[in-house]
Symmetry: C2
Subunit: 182 residues, 2 copies
DNA sequence: CCCTAAAGTGACGGATGTGTTACTTTGGAT
DNA sequence: ATCCAAAGTAACACATCCGTCACTTTAGGG
């Protein structure tokens, strides 16, 4: 009963993601996006009223995906297992941090993103507390610093082309035991 | 022999810095900048041909300032002293990482920034090697990961308002000895 | 086969940013 | 007092992006 679509929502979101990561919020335009999808600009307006609505929808979608997987952390028994699950998850969603920061730029949504972000941190407080209770994590370190530290670690640029597995395991080691020998 | 200026280069650079950090490269405009300086847009064109030239000049200036201080690292004896000097320096220049990333967006200057960046890393190789030679740093960790890690650590957002001194010393501890107890 | 409704197009008017230029202001030198 | 050159202004022409709207295309149901 209708004409065939020239792009799917998945393709739209993927193109949006790439553009956002490479151009940032201000550099993102429907023109570029339409070019990417080989479609006219007007076609996108059939689905989203404006750039803000599209980006908001997209980033909330990405965060939902991430939170969904994050909540599986409780399926793992013991702090150590949860810790490795979390690190692997963050590595596989290494772009999410950047996207959240872009989301915070959205006019009128700063609050929503702030609460979403702090909800996430809140949700992980239990994980941190478990680590401290099990005597694995140093008690005197602020919880939010520990979490921020873990999330930030994936953003370190790997210019020198070190293989991913070596890179990841090195980071894990520094997070756990530091870069000093003693 | 000339009229009094309404803004100094320092004021211009400071306003540029704030705008760049808050709006990003694409969101930065001469209009906003002129408003900030309470001056007409045209006045800025008396000194810089366009936005790209201004931003390029500004970021190179900032990096030069940073590199100048960085080179004082050799005035400190021993790895440990150099390590704390570097960390304190990075904390006091916590914006420079963001600015460098913006610089990498400058069309036609990616290469220049890449080499500048890798020069900086190159310059610090000696420092890392010293740490390894003194037996302080773990030998098997890639040098560039260690450096990237140190530089990245100041970017962790301190939302919960923990005092700077506690924040900084906690970060130092994690970098050195990790967040695990053993 | 024809009609319909969803999908897509292209051109519009408005807003904003850019770089230029002719103009005015101003302070020191003669 | 006058002149000049640097400093600043304001308006212009140009480009880009935005959101809209009247239009065309196309697949499926009757």
């Amino acid at each position: 009963m209708a004409r065939e679509r020239k792009f799917t929502t998945d393709e739209l979101f993927e193109a949006t993601k790439q553009l956002l990561l490479h151009q940032g919020y201000e550099g993102f335009t429907f023109g570029l996006l339409a070019d990417n999808l080989k479609v006219s600009r007007g076609a996108i307006y059939k689905y989203y009223e404006n750039k803000e609505e599209l980006i908001t929808n997209f980033i909330f979608y990405e965060m939902d995906q991430f939170l969904l997987k994050l909540k599986k952390i409780n399926q793992h028994q013991g702090f150590e297992a949860q810790f490795h699950f979390l690190l692997n998850l963050i590595f596989s969603y290494s772009d999410i941090q950047k996207l959240i920061k872009i989301g915070q730029q959205l006019p009128g949504y700063q609050d929503k993103f702030k609460t979403l972000h702090s909800d996430m941190y809140q949700y992980l407080q239990g994980f941190i507390e478990l680590g401290k209770k099990e005597g694995k994590l140093k008690r005197h370190l602020p919880n939010n610093l520990i979490l921020g530290y873990i999330f930030q670690s994936v953003a370190i640029p790997n210019h020198s082309g070190i293989p991913h597995s070596e890179w990841a395991s090195s980071i894990k080691e520094i997070i756990c035991h530091g870069m000093f020998t003693d």
